[in-house]
């Protein structure tokens, strides 16, 4: 390809970049439609203008390495800006976004695409260059190249007008939520909001600490509910099961009189006394979907168990004493012939989003699976999420309130149920029992009225991570393997449901 042909392609690229995204944005969207860029849109638009300007440098001075290098850097930075901006809205529902939509995509997503096209174009042009193309003196511009300069300068002049009206002179700068463009100065809003102090962070709201029970206050008296009745620990012992890792949850199946115990990646089925392991496997948490560390477990239907990671990713396993060990190599790290993997996916939440969970419970009466959130430094909400067993999709979420007839009251105006740190849950008789490692408190939540109908302090608990019902007792296990048994606070109120339970609940 001749040198002039390459310059012609570059000239067209500069014209296209100046007219289509930037010119359209300022003259049509801005001056005609009244659109005003947000602060990030301004910088993305500036980035496109600067890419065009480096193209003009090449047209005038030839392909000097510093111009080519800078154009590649600008393209890469523009792609980063596009991802950063698009990422803010990427997880919204269909059609939702920020400001204007063009051809089915919002403007910031077009910026990502345009910078990508720019970078690809620069790569192609670089490949077309021959050795020794650099020039000793400036080129004499052809007519079309002069036109590119004129168009560029007109477009930049338009941006100067819009930037002055929308953002103002220095030190004023672009805004997160700009008002629409106007030629009338009485409608101009100049802001210094971006100069106000704000914490610097790499991941922003996605920087959420992993859950854990080691730094929680176990004192029930320090909890958000005042004057709670106590449930005494009737029996306490340390489990001596040979587990790989520490215990993370506990479930009980009445029909077969067996317990289900999980560790970080292990799934163990034990006898009814928690003294002997009947079968186990260790799930590979990194195969395909990242399961994190198991935080909850439950029996589902006959011979089907489910374990959920703190990140609400789950695995469903089927007991099979004749499982094909070779086939299961991909799923498990140990004991390949006792279970088959049925499914592995993620529980999606709305209110519970951006919060981890440390509990899992199954209600056989409604064929529903429940999780409860644990608060973190950024999001503090106690959210109960219900998932339909058939498709494991979110069916209901609620934030429990104090039941009016419960007699419970908060210890102060600023106290909240959101302070509880639920690490184990189980269901019986339409009630969800949740043990909070913070303040060693057992909450009883009515799943119909969505209220906390009772709460009990259990002094002496040691970092509880699992909870289940066996008969009239609650079994609470700590991460160090200490098992505490307490009487169900309302066992007499639900004798029928306990006796009639189909035995597959947790």
């Amino acid at each position: 390809m001749t040198r002039n042909a390459i310059y012609s392609i570059l000239t067209l690229a500069v014209l296209l970049l100046s007219i289509v995204p930037v010119g359209t944005a300022v003259f049509l969207l801005g001056f005609v439609a009244g659109d005003s860029p947000c602060v990030m849109c301004w910088e993305q638009r500036t980035g496109m203008v600067l890419v065009a300007l480096t193209g003009l440098f090449v047209l005038r001075y030839g392909p000097r390495p510093k111009y080519l290098g800078l154009s590649v850097l600008l393209g890469a930075w523009g792609i980063f800006m596009g991802i950063r901006h698009t990422g803010m809205h990427a997880a919204r529902d269909v059609g939702q976004g920020f400001s204007l939509e063009i051809l089915g995509a919002h403007t910031y997503t077009w910026a990502l695409f345009i910078f990508w096209v720019c970078t690809v174009t620069m790569g192609v042009l670089l490949m077309m260059l021959k050795e020794g193309e650099t020039l000793a003196r400036p080129r004499t511009l052809r007519a079309i190249e002069r036109l590119a300069f004129v168009v560029f300068l007109v477009v930049v002049a338009g941006n100067i007008v819009q930037a002055f009206a929308s953002t103002g002179p220095p030190p004023y700068m672009g805004q997160s939520d700009p008002v629409r463009f106007s030629f009338s100065s009485k409608n101009w809003v100049w802001s210094l909001e971006e100069w106000s102090p704000a914490p610097v962070s790499l991941r922003g709201r996605w920087a959420i600490e992993k859950p854990g029970v080691s730094n929680l206050s176990a004192d029930p008296a320090a909890g958000p509910l005042a004057s709670l009745p106590e449930l005494p620990i009737r029996e306490q012992r340390t489990l001596t099961l040979p587990l790989r890792g520490s215990i993370t949850d506990l479930a009980y199946e009445q029909v077969t009189n067996r317990f289900l115990v999980t560790t970080q990646s292990g799934v163990y089925i034990t006898d009814g006394s928690l003294g002997r392991i009947a079968k186990y496997t260790v799930v590979d948490p990194g195969y395909s979907i990242d399961l994190g560390q198991f935080a909850g477990a439950t029996f589902l239907e006959r011979k089907i168990v489910m374990a959920v990671g703190e990140n609400k990713s789950y695995v469903v396993l089927r007991e099979n004493d004749k499982a094909d060990a070779d086939k299961n190599f991909r799923f498990f790290l140990d004991s390949f012939d006792k279970f088959d993997e049925v499914s592995r996916s993620r529980l999606g939440t709305v209110r519970a989003r951006m919060m981890y969970t440390m509990s899992l419970a199954f209600d056989p009466a409604t064929k529903s699976i429940y999780t409860v959130t644990v608060p973190n430094a950024r999001v503090k909400r106690l959210v109960v999420s219900r998932f339909d067993r058939r498709d494991l999709t979110l069916s209901e979420e609620f934030m429990p309130a104090l039941g009016e007839e419960s007699g419970l009251r908060l210890a102060g105006d600023k106290r909240s149920l959101d302070e509880y740190y639920v690490t184990g849950a189980t269901i019986d008789g339409g009630r969800l029992y949740a043990i909070s490692a913070a303040f060693s408190t057992l909450l009883t939540i009515d799943l119909v009225t969505h209220t906390v109908v009772a709460a009990h302090a259990i002094p002496g608990l040691s970092r509880p991570v699992g909870l289940t019902i066996k008969g009239d007792d609650l079994y609470i296990v700590g991460d160090s393997g200490v098992l505490a048994v307490v009487a169900r606070p309302d066992a007499s109120a639900h004798p029928a449901t306990t006796a009639a339970a189909p035995g597959t609940g947790k």
Partner: protein, 55 residues
């Protein structure tokens, strides 16, 4: 600040177009404009410098 940046860009573009002998000054203005853009974007996104997606 965006207004200032576009003024810098306009001057740089004009120099390259009409005063090509001022190449060094034009390039300095270009670099200054790039740094200003990077600085303003970083300032606007300092509460979450990396793209806000699930890590």
């Amino acid at each position: 600040m965006e207004f200032l940046n576009f003024v810098l860009i306009l001057i740089a573009g004009y120099l390259v177009f009409q005063k090509p002998e001022k190449e060094r000054l034009a390039f300095r203005l270009l670099v200054l404009s790039v740094l200003l853009m990077v600085g303003l974007f970083s300032m606007a996104t300092r509460t979450g410098l990396l793209p806000g997606v699930n890590y």
